[in-house]
């Protein structure tokens, strides 16, 4: 089977290739315009309506012709503000929004994604990662 990674060097090559590919999602025709959205979809998020938020985002962005990729991710830890999503505009730092129901999602698309204006309800990043420690 050709999929198998046979040694550490192969894994490193694969990692570097994937890193590049995931940074500029291959799916996009114009990656410099691509909006990336992650929806926190652990049990807690789903219980608070993350699934509806995610479907809404996918449909709405598609209908409005915004070049975006919406993926799921695990728990971001902000249970008090579920559903939470992280939006990365091209060339910008990721921004996390809390309490994103479909109404909030519509506002985020309208103001932040299309016009680059922030909206209320941003969750500041409150933790260090292993990359900067």
């Amino acid at each position: 089977m050709s999929d198998k990674v046979r040694n550490l060097q192969e894994l490193r090559n694969l990692r570097d290739e994937l890193k590049g590919r995931l940074l500029l999602r291959e799916k996009s025709k114009a990656p410099e315009k691509l909006v990336q959205i992650k929806v926190s979809m652990a049990t807690c998020g789903i219980a608070s309506g993350a699934r509806e938020t995610m479907s809404y985002l996918i449909e709405e962005l598609d209908q409005q012709g915004v070049d975006a990729i919406v993926t799921q991710t695990g728990c971001m830890g902000y249970c008090y503000a579920e559903p939470t999503i992280e939006v990365t505009l091209p060339g910008e730092k990721p921004v996390v929004f809390g309490h994103v129901d479909t109404v909030k999602a519509a506002e985020i698309i309208e103001k932040y994604i299309k016009k680059g204006e922030l909206v209320d309800g941003i969750i500041p990043d409150t933790y260090n990662t292993i990359d900067n420690k």
Binding site: K4, G74, C75, G77, K115, D125, Y127
Partner: protein
Amino acid sequence: MAKFKYHVLVCGGTGCRASQSETIAANIKRAVAENNLANEVQVIKTGCFGFCEKGPVVKMVPDNTFYVQVTPGDADELVLEHLVKGRKVKRLLYVDPETHTAVSDSKHMDFYKKQLRIALRNCGFIDPENIEEYIARDGYSALGTVLEQYSPEKAIEVVKASGLRGRGGGGFPTGLKWELTRKSKAEQKFVVCNADEGDPGAFMDRSILEGDPHSVLEAMAICGYCIGADKGLIYIRAEYPLAIKRLKIAIEQARKYGFLGNDIFGSGFNFDVTIRYGAGAFVCGEETALIHSMEGKRGEPTVKPPFPAQCGYQGKPTNVNNVETFANIPVIFLKGADWFSNIGTPKSPGTKVFALAGKVNNVGLIEVPMGTTLREVIFDIGGGIKSGKKFKAVQTGGPSGGCLTEKHLDLPIDYETLVANGSMMGSGGMIVMDEDDCMVSVAKFYLDFTVEESCGKCSPCRIGNKRLHELLDKITLGQGEEADLSRLRNLATVIKDTALCGLGQTSPNPVLSTLDNFPEEYEAHVKEGKCPAGQCRALMQYVIDPNLCVGCTLCSRVCPVDAISGSKKTPHFINSMVCIKCGACMEKCKFGAISVQ
């Protein structure tokens, strides 16, 4: 496209809102408009910055100036100085308590970020159902490195040197456990991941498996290589369907890429993982009971020794580790044992994930270096107590832990300190209580749980806990006597000393710690027949204030048991012998004449 040049981020977390951050935001907005900056500057209310101690917090973007303890009156100065003239308002900058210098931007403010995510490093970051995202974040590099460059002994040395201790509650040194299991001679050995997570209120293991399942698989393979096992088993409760689904996907993907299976990384090492389902019994989280449950036997513990490391699953040497323990392993190999052991405290290196719940504002999953204080967790990260109420206690360690109080708030969180103060780390549930919580009822709540979950094998746990529960029940019903307090203590101590497994040995902790820390509350129940927190229904008395009562008769008409008497236009009276404390009268009274005592 109207893009703003400046953003003013005003903290709208509950803590900061209580100190007028909404007025601050409104004032800044007004000042921005007055200075004709409305097209360039946008004012945004954010979630909690996690620095509530110094709130309200205002952050300027893009220069990241971080202002603390801002008041509504500071708005004009902030706008005029910072935004119009481009000068920082020095008096509102954070002053480093050690160097006494003002810190001007949040780049140098990382210290306020009390959290460090190691076990949760990928949770909320990668798509857990896509192995490629894990690989792009250095996934399986630790396994590859270990298999290509380390002997099992050398890899165990790394884990030992990191100082990592079990996150499932006991805090046993992980490297040492691996070494002991390696030294046990047998043809077949097993790696077991304990994903039973039985503590009420704890959900960190579930979140790790749902958010980053590959990190656990990778660590289990490393463990297998170290101890000489080619089979891994994950024991997970069936009520975690999403975690199970993502684990299954992860196992399939890992096999496809050759990270599980035969001849991993061309090293000749074989390892594969299967999932075993538990029915969600608390005692099955105890490792010997867990092993019996996996063997298809009753989930009952057995006496240790022999330890699983000598004689575990199917009588073979078995290494049992918790989910969070495993999630730390790949990072230790990627970043080095020294890097890891420098985080946290010397005896408890690294971080711990807590499920912060109860009466705190920012309920959530947090990960902090060991040695962080309870105050930092509850008041900074947790944003303080809900509705501005007073902090009363924090329960750690679940049904095996205890309640810590105000005087413990500045204690560093580590295994030894928590035990020395009558609680324990447990798996990381942390439940915050406020002035409205009755500590006798809290102890009874945990005993409810233990009585339900006791497997019944040993009498101290089966009978003793039942008796403890009866005593607590009696006290909360107002039928307790002073002698019951010493009975409670004696019985609790005997159970602790004589129970067979960890469940019984720790189950009296909630009783003992509340007896120690809140003796006056127990005494009020038994001596004065009062529940100071006003929670024990049987001890409550509804009374009508004759000065406020106008005799409208509404209360006597809603009372379901006819406990209220009195004639029209004269003050009414509640017969407390008949009253069932339903509260219907108090709800209906339009004159605030009825209160609870």
